[in-house]
Symmetry: C4
Subunit: 215 residues, 4 copies
C-alpha cells in the first residue's frame, strides 16, 4: 500500500515535470511572435532600416529566450531533488508557470520602447519586474518543498539544502536590487539583471547526500 | 485476448490524457498573447499609464490562467478514475478541449472592455458564459463515463461516484447562476464566478473504494 | 540484429506519432487566435453586436476544431496499423502536418468573409480546398504505406486494407466534389463538406486480420 | 554507481530530445500565424485577388515548414548518435532552438516583401541569414559533441564521424555562399538555398560502427 502511494507520488512528480515542460516549450517559442516588422509604407522606411532598428527586440528576444531556457534546465535539475508533490505544490507550480508565461509581454514592451528615452525607465522597470516574478515564485516553491524536507529527497545533506535556499534567495534579492537600481539608472539596472543571468549559465552544483547515505 | 484489449484500453486512456495535456499547456500559455500594449503614439499616453490601465487584462490573464490550471490538475485527478475510453468519450473530450481552447477569447474581450461602463455587462456575461462551457462539457463527459460505471473504475464506491456527480453538477448550476446574476449585476456575477473558482483551489477528495475492495 | 532493427522501427513509429501529436495539439489550439473582436470604437457597434456578428467565426472555429479533432483520433487509429516508418513516409507525414497546420488560415478567412455576399464564393472555395488538402495528403500517406504492405501490419486482411483504401479515396473524391459544387453554389458546397465530416464522427472500423492469423 | 550515472546521462539525452521536440512542433505550427489576409476594405481588392497575391507567403510557409521538418527528422537521427549530454551541450542546444524559433520572423518578412522590387534583396538576405543560423548552431553542437567522442557513441567509426563533420560543415559553407550571392543576385541566392534544402530531403546515411564493433 505504502509502495503504491510512493509510486503514485513519483508518477505525479514526473507528470508535473512533463506538463510544465510543455509550458516552457510554448512560452519560449512564442517569444518570436512579439517581434513584428512595422508597416514600412506608413513610415517611409526601407525594410533594411526597419530590420536594423528592431535590434532592441532582438536583444529582448535573445535574453528572454536564454532566461526561460535557464529556468527550463534548472527545472529538470530541481525535479531530480523534488520527490513528491502535493496539492499546495501543484498550485505553487501553476503560479510559477504563470510567471514564466507572462515573460513574453514585458519582453515585447521592452523591445518596442527601449530606445525611446522618455519611456526607457518605465519599460526597463517593467521588464526587470517580469524577471523578478519567476525568481520569486521559484523561491517560494523551493521554500515550501524543502521546509522540513516536505517534498524533497530525504537523503540530501542539510548543507546542500541550505546552499540551494541561499542561492535561490539571493537570486530574488539581486533582481529586487536590479529593480531598485532601474528606478534611478535604467541602463545600469538592466545590466545587473543581464549579468546576474550570466551567472546562471554556470552549471548547477550536483546534489550532495548525507554521509553515510541512508540507503 | 481480453487482456490485450484491456491493455489497449488503458493505453488509450493514457494517450487521451497526454494529448489533452498538450492542449492545456498551449491554451494556458497563449493567454499572454491576448495582452497587448496599445499604440501609445496614437493615444498620447505614457507607456507607464498604458501599462497600469491594462490591469483588467492582467486580472483576466491571472484568473483564466488559474481556471485552466485547476482544470488541468482535475484532468490528471479524474484520469485516475477513468479506466477506459470509447469513441463517444473521445468526441466528448474533443468538445471539452474546444471549450478550454475557447477561453482565451472571452478573456481578451473581458480585459479590453471591463472598465467600459456601457460594455461591462456584455463582456462579463460573455466571460461567465466562457467559464460555463468547460464546466458543462466536463459534467457531460463525467455523466457519460460514470453512468452504470461505463468507463470508470468498477471498484469505486457508489457513494463516491455520487459525490462527484453532485460536485460537478453543482458547479454547472453555480456558473449558470453567476451568468443570470451577471445580466442584472455584472460585478456581483463575476464576483460569484471568482469565488466559486476559489473553492476549486481546495484539494479534490481522494477516490473511495467499495468495502471490501474487489481486488 | 533483425530484432534490434524491428525495435528501432517501432520506436520510430511511436516517435512520429508523438511528434505529430504536438502539431495536432498546437494547430487545434491556435484556431482561437484567429477570432478577434473588431475595434468597436471605429465601427460604432456595441460589443454585444460585434460578438454576435462574429458567428461565422465561431462556426468556422467549431467546424475546424472538429475536423482537426477527427484527424487526431484517426491519427491514433491508423498508427495501430502502421508498423514501420521510412524516410519517404517521414516526408509524407511532414507534408500531411503542413496541410493540418495550414487549416487555421482558411478558417480565419472563412470566418471573416462568409457573410459578405460578394466574397462568399471565394472564401468557401478556399476553405473547402483547405479541407481537401489534409484529406489528399492523408490518402497519399496511406497509399504509400499500404502498397504491397510496405509499412503496415502484415497480418491485416487484404479485404480490410482495401476497405481503408476505398474509404480514404472516397473522402478525397467527396471533398473534390464539394469543391466543384462550391464554385456554383457555395452554400451547398460547404453543406456537403460539413455533412461529410459528420460521417467521420462515426467510429472507425476495427482492424480485421487474416484468417487464420499468421501469429 | 557508474551504471547509475550512465542511466542518468541517457535519461538526460531522452529529455533534451523530447523537450526540443516541443519547440520544433510549436515553431513549425506557428508559421501559419504569419500569413494574414490584408484588409481588403482598405485596398479595394477582392478577397480572391488578395489570396492569390499572398503566394510569396505560401511559398515562404511551405519552404520554412520543410526546413524545420528536415531539422526535426535530423534531430531524431542525431540523437541516436548523441549518447550523453553535459551543461555546455544543453546551452548549445538552447542556442540552436533559439535559431529554429527565430525562423518564423524572416519567413514573415520574406512573404510580405518578396515581390517588392526595391526590398527583394533585403528580405532575401535576411531570410537566407535566418537559414544560416540553425545550420551554424547545429554544426557548433556537433563539433562540441563529436570532438574526441565527447558525447557521441564511442563505437562509431572515425570515418563516419568525419563524414558527418564534413556534411554539416559544408552545409554552413553553402548557406554562407547563398548569403553572399543574395547580396548580388537575390533570386539566385534564394534558389541556391532552396536547392540545398532539396538535398537534405535525401535520407541521412545510416550510422557506421568500428570494425570489429566494440560490443
Amino acid at each position: 500500500m505504502k509502495e503504491q502511494n510512493q509510486h503514485q507520488e513519483e508518477l505525479n512528480t514526473q507528470r508535473i515535470e512533463a506538463s510544465s515542460d510543455g509550458v516552457f516549450a510554448i512560452a519560449i517559442t512564442l517569444l518570436i511572435l512579439e517581434i513584428r516588422l512595422p508597416h514600412t509604407d506608413a513610415t517611409h522606411q526601407s525594410v533594411a532600416t526597419a530590420l536594423v532598428s528592431l535590434w532592441p527586440s532582438y536583444f529582448a528576444y535573445i535574453f528572454s529566450f536564454v532566461m526561460i531556457g535557464i529556468y527550463w534546465v534548472n527545472h529538470h535539475y530541481i525535479f531530480r531533488i523534488y520527490q513528491k508533490t502535493d496539492h499546495v505544490f501543484n498550485l505553487l507550480n501553476i503560479f510559477f508557470l504563470m510567471c514564466i508565461s507572462f515573460l513574453p509581454f514585458p519582453t515585447a514592451v521592452l523591445g518596442e520602447h527601449l530606445l525611446d528615452v522618455k519611456e526607457q525607465k518605465t519599460v526597463v522597470i517593467f521588464y526587470v519586474f517580469g524577471l523578478l516574478l519567476p525568481a520569486a515564485s521559484w523561491f517560494l516553491k523551493w521554500l515550501y518543498a524543502s521546509s522540513h524536507y516536505r517534498l524533497i529527497d530525504s537523503r540530501l545533506s542539510p548543507h546542500f539544502v541550505n546552499y540551494l535556499t541561499k542561492q535561490y534567495g539571493f537570486s530574488v534579492i539581486f533582481y529586487l536590487f536590479a529593480l531598485v537600481v532601474s528606478v534611478f539608472q535604467p541602463v545600469v539596472g538592466i545590466a545587473i539583471a543581464v549579468g546576474l543571468t550570466f551567472l546562471y549559465l554556470l552549471p548547477s552544483k550536483q546534489p550532495v547526500y548525507r554521509d553515510p547515505p541512508t540507503l
